[in-house]
């Protein structure tokens, strides 16, 4: 067991957990933020994506104790951290079907727009390729990203 300090959505959490606990389970079981989802556990589906220092990161294989002081933003904190336009665009396009993967999709889009505010279609596809939507909402996700860009994108 280890005492791990995490800075999530601007707040510092001190948790007691396994040495090797991945960020995903630290967030879900210890911090109590369940918006970040488990999908595959091997960083292949993107459901667990969070921002670490502004970079879209798969939390299911990221050891929590490796993060140190890094700023972690989850879907719960995205609106207050510049991502509201994305969430609104997702609503505007009525993007989700089942909705389970969408937090990861939105966070990946936020990571993309932070580093590249005006991506081409191909850049969007490349950046989003790690996020699976089993319901097949890809057309709407792309449309929502483009709408969000028009409405101000992600405020860094």
């Amino acid at each position: 067991m280890a005492s791990i300090s995490l800075k999530v959505n601007g707040k510092v959490y001190q948790i007691e957990a396994e040495d090797d606990i991945p960020l995903l389970w630290a967030l879900r079981d210890h911090v109590g933020l369940v918006g970040t989802k488990y999908g595959c556990g091997i960083a292949q589906c993107g459901s667990c994506t969070v921002l670490v220092g502004g970079v879209a990161t798969r939390s299911c294989m990221m050891p929590a104790k490796s993060l140190g002081e890094a700023e972690i933003i989850t879907i719960e904190g995205l609106a207050e951290n510049g991502g509201k336009a994305l969430q609104d665009a997702w609503v505007e396009h009525d993007t989700p079907q089942c909705g389970y993967c969408q937090a990861g999709q939105i966070i990946s889009a936020a990571g993309l727009l932070k580093s590249n505010p005006n991506p081409t279609d191909e850049e969007i596809d490349t950046a989003m390729r790690g996020n699976i939507c089993r319901c097949g909402s890809y057309v709407r996700i792309k449309a929502a990203i483009k709408t969000a860009i028009k409405k101000g994108g992600v405020v860094a």
Partner: protein, 730 residues
Amino acid sequence: MTKINLSRRGFIKVTGLAGSGLVLGFHWAGCTPVRPAEAAKVVLEPNAYIKILSDGMVTLMSPVPEIGQGIKTAIPMIIAEELDVSWDNVIIEQAPLAPDLYVRQSAGGSQAVRQLWTTVRTAGAAGRRMLMEAAAREWKVPVAELTTSEGIINHGKSGNSIGYGDIASKANDIEVPEEVTLKDPGNFKIIGTSKKNVDVRDIVEGKPLFGMDMKKEGTVIAMITHPPAFGMKPKSVDDSAARAIPGIKDVFTITVFPEDIETRWSGNNAFPELVVVTGESTWNVMKAKKALKIEWETVTPGENTEDHMKQMESQISGKMTAPDRIDGDPKAAFRKAVKVIERTYSAPFLPHNTMEPMNFYAHVTGDKIELEGPTQTPQRLRDITAQIMGIPEENITVNILRAGGGFGRRLYGHYGVEAAVISKRINAPVHLIYTREDDMTQGTYRPDYRVRYKAGIDANNNLVALTVSGTGTNGGPVASNRFPAGALDHYAAKNYSLKSNISTGAWRAPRSNFIAGAEQSFLDEVAEACGKNPMDFRLELLERAKNDPVGEKNDYDPDRFIALLNLIKEKCEWGNKVEGVHRGISAYYCHNSYIAQVIDIEMKDNKPVIKKAWCAVDCGIVINLDGAKNQVEGGIMDGIGHALYGNITFKDGVVDQKNFDTYRLIRHGEGPEAVETYFIDNDIDPTGLGEPALPPVAGALANALYRATGKRLYHQPYILELEGREINLG
């Protein structure tokens, strides 16, 4: 206008409202941002679907499990329409399982809207009528002089008006009307418009909605390990390393389903015996699960993909005896034919891969059980749990949560029963969670299929005879009375079935999800052999089925099919050739709805790129226009993805693909860039849309790929054939 007699529908007014609780925490249908701080009281429950609140807001119950098909939005839209309230004043609440109050609380077969249509319209209309009767009594005027509009009752002559919330308290002694009049579809104000998914705001903000997200005090995390191969069971378990992991509570083996249990639906798991680990947190339990050393024993032999394909090939290769349907004399017709085309199509097992893996909460206390989680069939789950646990059904509650995908997988609620068995064993509330690997290797797969078509063409280039024989694990895919049956003088169809210890289940549009693509690819090839345009060829056959149908059991309406093809033909400007665009057409009828699709492909760097999909739909009255389009877009993406990439293979009973590193799902940028969907405008009672948009797309895709690459595709996943990597059975 339709008059409905309520006495036959068993509507009961919900009584006992005194002291009924405050209404908190529900989802706002109209995405109204803030709810007033002081919660309004429920003042009238005309029936189990409706609660009228003192502030004029209305709570509508959504009885059907939401799995991504949009039913939690669609059913309340229908109730709100007939109740005549503004969508902005509606609050939606997911109903728990209550078979005494609701009809068919199940998500399956694309049947929810179709089968609840009249019932929930009647519920809304009955509520409206009771409020009107209360107002008529109050104002001492005949009820016939009253009208309603968006939650307000008006009396034109006196100019009186009153809101539902204000009159509701005076309607408690109004009897449920014996008869109500339903709206004329021409007067619909909500049905046919676009309303956003009622949970969309919560979804994009990451609110806890799913079974995986629920945290209840004292809940123990449980995980299972099932055998690595179909046909195996656990022999012995060395749990010393697992137990040494901090936070682990227990390791034990359970047999959930005894041999004499009904093995369908929730009583069905190919692995009735499971090794269970319980502990304090998910990560600990995951680690302990990996640390188990289990010895397995073989009960029945493990199977191989290639053996399956060979066995199926031999089943459909023989002479067809005792066909399921025969018209005319196909044998004689083939002898007279100038050209005979024979083609074989196949597809592999597919896992459902809902993004939210199987999981369920159970708490057994004495002779009571609390169940909560994602399920498509809460009642079957309850009934089989009652049977297994020896506890009366009425002592079991099932709380239905939004499911992170269904696709048929959660028709099989074995994981809920397993949670209950574990809860009883450890005497604590349990959240059972399957890992992705547990989920993908558990079975309940879309069966593998193989089908052979044979067509005879006469000297005038007419299709005169067609036969089809098909097989699949635990049942063949052929629907013998569907098109082109009825359009041909000489026709025969036959289904075979292959026995296997690999478990199969309903997967989005069962059977149709394969046979539609095979049939529509074959008809395309036959059209070409006849020298006909594939669109005109289909229309000719449908004209024949309309004007001079063969047989009496044809289960499609040629008129609706023809109108559908004409709609897509017009919308996609069929026949208007665009340089570099290669088109494929497909059309299919299943789940009571008609779908036609066109796929446009362009070649880029010698590789096919799917540019666009067009879709025409006849599902009768459309409830939620944009929600319906979303289902169509998803069905197309899903159908393309699985036809191109989906593949579960076996070696000695062991599944080769265990997670998304080896199992390929369609990803961003791999499907069409745009989807255009058009609906036939009619007043036919609505039919389903969760499934029907998927099956035909494999045909449209294969036909477009043929025009783009010159290569006909017969065996899914198509990517192997496109890349020349298919399995050779020779």
